[in-house]
């Protein structure tokens, strides 16, 4: 039997995408569905005698009344908002600098990526030392040898939270810079040349050429960073364990504690599902935004 060209092409296409789809199904869809299944049950690892009764949306109802969950959601939102705005701003700045040609540019570009290359657990540990109240670098920079004025940054609810934000911005700005740099490089030089001939100032060039042209890249960076920031975990795990006074407790860490430390599989899964739904919504929203832009440009 001879297949038409189009059917052969389709078959070939599904043969190519099949393995990838299979892997996504096993490692993404299945765990998500299973988390959802778990979130509809009351499962307490320490009390097998309770069984695993189906409780419908009881866990969700409880979650919306859980003041600690609400607090950690607020913390997460503040964290996401403040880190993303700083990271995009710094990322843009760094990208603009390393997009110019100067001596040892290759070296600087590589150096900018170093924070991103360090595993978060390692950099969190490093920041923990920097913030230390007795031998931390930060205290030394601020107060020098005046040990009596040294502050315990991670012992203060406000500064501990600020501390993890700074650590995240330090690490992820270079990632944003990388994506934005890629965007900057697609801007043709003749645009700037024409602008210069027309007498546009540097600021006007930036406003009218750079910013609009680099916007899609910024949106991509925004998408990745938001989703990543929403799932912040390792910084908190290493630096503060959610304390002091629960000030650095974020959703992912709260869910982790519920499942792995407290053995509340059902309730913990509910938190995971919530985090998933939020990131999914954000992703869909951004992708539509980026997608329409790309589409418009292509047309």
């Amino acid at each position: 039997m001879k297949l038409s060209l189009i059917r052969r092409e389709r078959l070939f296409a599904s043969a190519l995408t099949g393995p990838a789809l299979f892997i996504v199904a096993v490692f993404a869809f299945y765990p998500i569905l299973f988390s959802f299944y778990l979130s509809l049950h009351r499962i307490v690892l320490g009390l097998p005698s309770l069984g695993q009764p189906f409780v419908g949306f009881e866990n969700y109802r409880e979650l919306f009344q859980d003041r600690i969950a609400l607090r950690s959601l607020t913390n997460t939102l503040i964290f996401v908002f403040s880190t993303i705005s700083c990271e995009l701003l710094f990322g843009l700045g760094i990208a603009l600098i390393i997009n110019r040609s100067f001596r040892a540019r290759g070296l600087v570009r590589a150096a900018v990526l170093v924070p991103w290359a360090i595993p978060t657990v390692v950099s969190s540990q490093m920041w923990r030392f920097i913030y230390n109240d007795k031998y931390g670098l930060l205290n030394f920079l601020l107060f020098g040898a005046a040990e009596s004025r040294y502050r315990a940054w991670l012992a203060d609810p406000f500064f501990a939270f600020l501390g993890i934000i700074v650590a995240d911005v330090w690490k992820a700005s270079s990632f944003a810079a990388l994506l934005i740099l890629a965007g900057l490089q697609t801007i043709p030089d003749d645009l700037y040349e024409a602008a210069r001939i027309d007498g546009a100032s540097a600021w006007q060039q930036f406003r009218r050429i750079t910013l609009p042209m680099v916007k899609p890249a910024i949106l991509v960076a925004l998408l990745f960073r938001t989703m990543d920031a929403f799932r912040v975990f390792d910084l908190v795990y290493v630096m503060t364990q959610g304390g002091p006074a629960d000030s650095t407790n974020v959703l992912q860490f709260y869910g982790y504690k519920k499942i792995f430390a407290e053995g509340l599989m059902g309730y913990g899964s509910t938190i995971s599902v919530l985090v998933f739904l939020i990131t999914l919504t954000l992703a869909v929203f951004y992708i539509r935004l980026v997608g329409t832009r790309l589409f418009r440009e292509q047309a």
Partner: protein, 445 residues
């Protein structure tokens, strides 16, 4: 555009394909060799007891113990499975096995906060039929209490840890103070010494302890509360007691006189190592820690105060008496074990006088049998045990419930919240915590 230019080039694809083929081949070859390497089960009269343990600090002592056991019990072979050193990771490994009703576990170690969980889950078997009441009385009371769940015994304590007060012998002597008996005294003495030292240009703190939001915070705060006649969970009624007056008073004392008073505010971010650092650098007059700190504080290589360290019972409030949080490790037997009698023989052997003595002498573990604290050989190897006997006798377990980890998280949050802020509403937060605790505790009834 960043997205569109990401299309991979054909050549890259080919090498990637080759890489995958190679990886698959390697995996297949490896799995074949692993299958071939699996030993077949041997038929023999020797009964194998599988013992899940961690990597000991003094491996020779354990080699010796197993050698003695094998010599005396030729019919039983002990096979050790060495788990991770961290308590949490060890808990993950062990519960994974027990959840699956693994036959590979006969005897296992339990951290002091696990027996209730293991009992309720049906993983650890009750040992009451094995051990007579009068034998039980020879053990430290707190250690037995920690292994008792719903009036049955699920573990035999092998050695204990407990909170204790370390102090600078030299400083106290120099300024004419005795080790403090009450917390107020401790705060007063440390305040006076700190001022006098600062006049000489030496800036030190009065106290260092562990007040980060983590498990150790529950241990520490429990010591304050119990020593004011308070409780975390009412033992008879099984409900929260953190709203009780003694508990509130104790917490308020910590907030007002310890954090940012006797101790630097930084202790709110301290676990054991950081707080010990402060002490061994000579920067604190008093220090709360577990017994392991004794050797480090007296090691001239690591400590600037070696030889000047004293130990005492933790202070208490005027109305109460001294209490120390109990730590340590117990032996349990799996409900799924096929050789329970032989497993008990091994547990009994390990917990016996002579083996506990050997562990105390050779690896400095604090025994659970009261009599050993008067044993000359044990005291010769560990002179500080003489002073610590009282501490161990007063050691008290954390609430015994199968949902302890969840309970602990509520308590950690509560304590951390109220002691991190001078203006905190202790009574209100205690109400909140209490409500959550009771909800949790009611699940087990």
């Amino acid at each position: 555009m960043a997205i569109r230019s990401a299309r991979p080039k054909p050549r890259r694809q080919r090498t990637a394909g080759r890489g995958v083929c190679l990886a698959i081949t390697i995996i297949m070859v490896l799995s074949l060799t692993m299958l071939a390497g699996c030993p077949g089960k041997k038929e023999s009269d020797v009964m194998t007891i599988r013992f899940v343990t961690w990597k000991p600090n003094q491996p020779e002592a354990w080699e010796e113990i197993l050698r003695i056991f094998h010599e005396e019990n030729p019919g039983i072979r002990i096979e050790r499975e060495i788990g991770p050193h961290s308590s949490t990771a060890f808990h993950d490994l062990l519960t994974q096995k027990l959840k699956n009703r693994s036959r590979d576990v006969d005897v296992f170690f339990m951290d002091v906060i696990w027996p209730a969980e293991f009992a309720a889950a049906g993983w650890a078997m009750p040992l009451d039929d094995f051990i007579a009441a009068q034998e039980r009385e020879k053990f430290l009371e707190g250690a037995i209490l920690a292994n008792t769940f719903e009036n049955r015994l699920y573990g035999i304590p092998l050695f204990v840890d407990s909170g204790m007060l370390y102090y600078r012998k030299d400083l106290l002597k120099q300024y004419g103070f005795k080790p403090p008996v009450t917390w107020q005294e401790m705060a007063d003495i440390s305040g006076k010494i700190v001022i006098k030292e600062s006049k000489k240009g030496r800036y030190i703190y009065g106290f260092s302890g562990q007040f980060k939001q983590y498990e150790g915070l529950v241990c520490g705060m429990m010591e304050y509360i119990l020593s004011n006649n308070g409780m975390l969970v009412d033992r008879e009624k099984g409900v929260s007691a953190v709203t009780g007056k003694p508990a509130i008073e104790a917490v308020r004392f910590v907030r007002d006189r310890i954090i940012g008073g006797a101790a630097p505010v930084g202790v709110l971010a301290y676990q054991e190592p950081e707080s010990l650092d402060l002490f061994i650098q000579g920067k604190a007059v008093f220090h709360r820690n577990w017994p392991y700190a004794w050797q480090i504080a007296n090691d001239p290589q690591r400590s600037t105060i070696a030889g000047n360290v004293g130990i005492a019972k933790l202070p208490h409030f005027p109305a109460g008496k001294s209490y120390a949080a109990l730590g340590g490790w117990q032996l349990g037997i799996s409900s799924y074990s096929e050789h329970k009698e032989a497993a008990w023989k091994f547990v009994q052997f390990l917990a016996s006088d002579r083996i506990q003595k050997l562990l105390a002498v050779r690896s400095g573990k604090a025994p659970t049998r009261k009599a050993l604290y008067d044993d000359p050989e044990v005291l010769k190897a560990n002179p500080h045990f003489r002073d610590m006997k009282d501490v161990f006798l007063s050691a008290y377990p954390r609430p015994v419930t199968p949902l302890y980890p969840a309970l602990s998280n509520i308590l950690q949050r509560y304590f951390s919240t109220v002691i991190s802020d001078r203006q905190s509403d202790i009574a209100g937060e205690a109400e909140n915590a209490s409500r959550e605790m009771n909800k949790l505790l009611s699940m087990t009834q």
